[in-house]
């Protein structure tokens, strides 16, 4: 069920209910160095119909597999992930 946006340089991953609702587990973004907030915006510009699911389920983000907030800088080559609050343990 993977779906790709612009063939480009930032890899974006989705997990759990967010992944299921979007029907998408990953995409590639063409983006200059930006913040996580700007990455969110760019994704929603490409997929305006994802807004509700994104707002309710993309509560957490990670850049290069480390949890971060929306101010975190993202550079080309980075892996950005969005997911709901975790429920392991």
């Amino acid at each position: 069920m993977s779906c790709f946006g612009d063939k480009s340089l930032i890899k974006v991953l989705f997990f759990a209910h967010l992944k299921e609702r979007l029907g998408c587990d990953s995409l590639m973004l063409k983006a200059a160095p930006a913040t996580v907030a700007e990455v969110r915006q760019q994704i929603l510009e490409m997929h305006p119909n994802w807004r509700d699911d994104f707002e309710s389920l993309a509560k957490l983000s990670a850049v290069n597999q480390t949890i971060c907030d929306d101010n975190q800088l993202v550079e080309t080559g980075d892996e950005v992930a969005f997911f709901p609050p975790v429920t392991g343990g």
Binding site: F15, Q65, T66, V86, T87, G88, G89
Partner: protein
């Protein structure tokens, strides 16, 4: 030699004796071993639940568990640490997670063990989904877990 980690994400159940062996073998420094074992319980599961599936974010899972251990080592005098977390399909009563830690100090072992569980619950990318006779549903995160983690 003293500070060693065993961090694993796996489908299979774990052997508790083997985990204690890792914590205790040739370890005469540490008189204290604190552990936590989490299992699938009835109350986790709603009506008509037939099982549970644990999804994770491969790669980040191991990294986040490693980060949690690094943070615990910065705060407490601990030596051996085990974290094993299962993924995939689980049944009622199945083990989910084991965290174990050794220290020369009883209080350090308890605190580090609880800290690691609280951080794992709120930082490690695992998600539980229930399978029910009416379909699947994702388990909601609990505010109490976030509160517990914020107290450290």
């Amino acid at each position: 030699m003293r500070q060693e980690n065993l961090i694993q994400v796996q489908h299979d159940d774990f052997d508790i004796s083997a985990l204690y062996h890792f914590l205790q073998a040739d370890n005469v420094e540490d008189g204290a071993v604190a552990t936590f074992l989490g299992a699938v319980r009835a109350k986790n599961l709603g009506d008509n639940v037939t099982g549970l599936t644990l999804e994770h974010y491969p790669g980040m899972t191991e990294k986040s568990l490693n980060d949690i251990v690094v943070q615990a080592r910065e705060r407490w005098d601990i030596n051996r640490v085990v974290i094993v977390h299962r993924v995939g399909a689980l049944q009622l009563g199945d083990n989910i997670v084991f965290v174990g830690v050794t220290s020369p100090h009883r209080g350090n072992a308890f605190d580090a063990c609880e800290f690691m569980m609280d951080f794992l619950k709120t930082r490690a990318p695992f998600w539980k989904k229930e399978s029910t006779s009416e379909g699947d549903r994702w388990i909601e995160a609990r505010d109490s877990d976030a509160q517990k983690a914020s107290q450290w």
